[in-house]
Amino acid sequence: MEIKVLGPGCKRCQQTEQVVSQALQELGITANLDHVKDPIEISNYGVFGTPAVVVNGEVKCVGKVPSKDEVKKWLQQAK
C-alpha cells in the first residue's frame, strides 16, 4: 500500500503523518508512508490545500488533520 501525506512540513502536516502512522500500527498494516513536501509535486495532486492524505493514488482528505478512525476506514478499504 502506498500512502502519501502532502504538506510543507508544518505542525498540522506532521500531526497528519502521526495519525496515519498510528492507524497503520494499530491495524498491523505494512505500507510505504511518504511525506511529500515539494510544492510542485503537491500541486500535481490538484489539492486546494494541505495537509492532504493520498492512499494508493486517491486523495482521501484535504485541508484537515483526519481522525484516526477516518484513516483506519481508508486503510481497511484499500487493503
Binding site: V47, F48, G49, T50, V59, K60, V62
Partner: protein, 141 residues
C-alpha cells in the same frame, strides 16, 4: 519546519473556493472574469471546475472538504451546478448570473461595470458561508 503556514485565518474570506462555469457566452466569461478578479483581490481562490468534472480525486475531495465554496453559473442551464452534483460535491453557495438581469449573448467584450455587479453578487451570496474553524483548507497551498 514552518509553524505559521497552517494557522487559521479569521473569517472565510480569502479561503473561499470559487468555481466558475467559464462557459462560451458573455455570462460564462463573466463568471470566469469575476472569479479571476476576486482571486486577485484576495476574496477567495479560483479552483478548477474541469478537474472536478474529470472526477480527479484531488479536485473532488478538495471541493468536498472546503468549508466555504461558491459555484458561479452564467445561465440557468447550470453546468457548474450539474458538474458538482455529478461528482457528489454538495453546493454551499450558488449564483446564476442571468438571475441578476444580465442577458446571455455572444458578446465577449465584458464591461467593468457588469463585472463589478457580478463580483458584488458573489460576495453577497457568500455571506452565509461558515467562518473558518480548525480546518483551514488553503492555508498551506
Amino acid at each position: 519546519m514552518s509553524e505559521q503556514c497552517c494557522e487559521t485565518p479569521s473569517g472565510s474570506s480569502g479561503n473561499v473556493m470559487i468555481l466558475a462555469c467559464s462557459g462560451g457566452s458573455n455570462v460564462g466569461q463573466l463568471s470566469n472574469q469575476a472569479a479571476v478578479e476576486l482571486t486577485k483581490e484576495g476574496f477567495g481562490k479560483m479552483f478548477c471546475l474541469a478537474g472536478i468534472g474529470a472526477h480527479l480525486s484531488g479536485f473532488v475531495q478538495s471541493a468536498k472538504d472546503v468549508p466555504a465554496m461558491i459555484a458561479i453559473d452564467g445561465c440557468s442551464i447550470g453546468c457548474a451546478k450539474a458538474t458538482l452534483e455529478h461528482a457528489g460535491v454538495p453546493l454551499k453557495a450558488y449564483l446564476v448570473i442571468t438571475d441578476l438581469g444580465i442577458e446571455k449573448n455572444k458578446n465577449f467584450d465584458l464591461d467593468s461595470e457588469t463585472i463589478e455587479k457580478v463580483k458584488a453578487a458573489v460576495k453577497e451570496a457568500c455571506e452565509g458561508l461558515p467562518v473558518e474553524g480548525g480546518s483551514s483548507v488553503a492555508c498551506c497551498s
